[in-house]
């Protein structure tokens, strides 16, 4: 049971933070574009970069989940 639960929890909990982070980033970027539509291109590029960094956290969670699925936790057969 724990073998299934572990990876699920890892990615599920790990995605909460980046999800909020990406939401905040896009919110800020869209507000900025709304205020200053001429700078839309630059803002979009920076937004994407920010999203990528936030997403990296979720990727770490994914790595842990994958490790748990395919390599297994030490001590559990």
């Amino acid at each position: 049971m724990i073998e299934i639960l572990g990876p699920g929890l890892a990615i599920g909990l790990g995605a909460i933070g980046p999800g909020i982070g990406v939401g905040l980033l896009v919110m800020g970027a869209l507000q900025a574009i709304g205020r200053n539509p001429e700078a839309a291109g630059e803002i979009r590029t920076n937004m994407i970069l920010g999203i990528v960094f936030a997403e990296a956290i979720a990727i770490y969670a994914l790595v842990v989940a994958l490790l748990l699925i395919f390599v297994g936790a030490p001590g559990l057969s």
Binding site: L66, L67, F70, V71
Partner: protein
């Protein structure tokens, strides 16, 4: 790492693969296209500059021509003004001449008419006097002497005031 599928030879082969791709593209793809882009950019800049020069030249030429046309127009204007002034003068002259001649003709005609009138009046005067004498002679037949007759005639004439 083995369970993740990472192992040395595969890793190395992927790295080598990418480096080969990078070198190939760096050798064959990027230089010609980037040079072409640069060249085209340069050419566009050049032709824009040339167009700018040509535009300026045309502008100057146009200004020059405009000035010339303006000058010619002014000249023509002046000529026309001169000509019309002259024409005006000639017209005035002709008019004055004509007027003068008309005046002259009129004066001469009046003079002649006056003279004619005087002549006719004198003629009439004489004839009336003669007719009157004749008429009176016939009426009175020797009743009056010559001097009285003339006196009467003069009176008559002044009364009738044929003048």
């Amino acid at each position: 790492m083995n369970q993740l599928g990472v192992n040395g030879p595969f890793l190395l082969s992927q790295i080598i693969n990418f480096i080969i791709l990078l070198l190939l593209l760096k050798r064959f793809l990027y230089p010609p296209l980037m040079n072409m882009l640069d060249e085209r950019k340069q050419r566009i800049a050049d032709s824009l500059a040339a167009a700018e020069v040509a535009r300026k030249e045309a502008e100057e030429e146009r200004a020059r021509l405009m000035a010339q046309i303006e000058a010619e127009r002014a000249e023509a204007q002046k000529r026309i003004a001169e000509a019309s002034a002259q024409a005006e003068r000639v017209r005035a002259d002709i008019l004055a001449e004509a007027k003068r001649e008309a005046e002259e003709l009129k004066a001469r005609a009046i003079q002649e008419a006056e003279a004619e009138k005087q002549r006719i009046l004198a003629e009439a005067h004489k004839q009336i006097a003669e007719l009157t004498v004749l008429a009176t002679e016939r009426v009175v037949r020797h009743g009056l002497d010559e001097s009285l007759q003339h006196q009467l005639i003069e009176e008559f004439l002044s009364e009738t005031s044929l003048n």
